[in-house]
Symmetry: C2
Subunit: 152 residues, 2 copies
């Protein structure tokens, strides 16, 4: 698998998600896929994504950064959407929010077998609570001399 | 800059952080560095890191995954530490917590010029609030049929 080939497979995978083309998800995701260390399998993976689209009807995966080093891909995804109810336990209720996800994938035989994802929940919180200190920038931040504002 | 060369520079950068070798930080970080879209400069970057170590005296940057595609690097960092007080507004107060950071870097002339970081605040929350539903796994999760447990 070449670097360019793996990047293209990844872009096709994201296109599959954005089309909600679940019958073809297995072309990109391994039957034995792991998500953040837990084996959830292709059926669990599809269920997770279907749940995402039920909660966020205008969900769209936008690739901001893509780095490929076979058999791995790292991607920074941007979201700008209006979740219907709660998201990560936060009351969104149709408000437009922007956030990012930095995520690593490991492929086997051309399909995703491992996913390690971190979603920026703090960025969403900062958009819901304008009167609170918004910056969750560095690991500790609270000790920083000059709090910096989160760019959502 | 080769892929292997950039990976080595990145590992040297992480070693610099773990040694808290601030006088040498400028070997790895550009004077005009941006963090999550905000120009904070080398001085602001150093201040941020110094604040991290004040808040987390046993802070140690552990590279779990590293992907290099010059001029960019993506890294998944693992932390297992005991923050003294609050972290991301959460009352840690010396409890041992484990969490990850997925972070992208863009280099120019061999030094970091852009950083796009997401830290897994939800994982820390789940370790502080054992009675709450812990899983913040997928984007929406709340709609998933079977909640999955966060692996910290």
């Amino acid at each position: 698998m070449t670097k360019a080939g793996l990047s293209q497979i990844y872009r096709d995978y994201i296109a599959c998600l954005n089309k909600q083309d679940w019958p073809n998800l297995g072309r990109f995701v391994h039957e034995e896929v792991y998500y953040n260390g837990e084996g959830i399998g292709l059926a669990g993976y599809r269920e997770m994504l279907e749940g995402d689209f039920r909660a966020i009807p205008d969900l769209y995966f936008d690739i901001h950064l893509l780095i490929s080093e076979p058999p791995r891909v790292a991607s920074r995804l941007r979201f700008n959407c209006t979740p219907k109810g709660t998201l990560f336990g936060l009351p969104i209720n149709g408000k437009r929010v922007s956030f990012t996800e930095n995520v690593f994938y490991e492929f086997r035989d051309g399909r995703i077998e491992q996913v390690w994802s971190v979603i920026d929940k703090a960025a969403i919180e900062s958009q819901l609570l304008p009167d609170r200190v918004k910056n969750e920038r560095s690991i500790s931040r609270q000790t920083a001399a000059k709090p910096r504002q989160m760019k959502a």
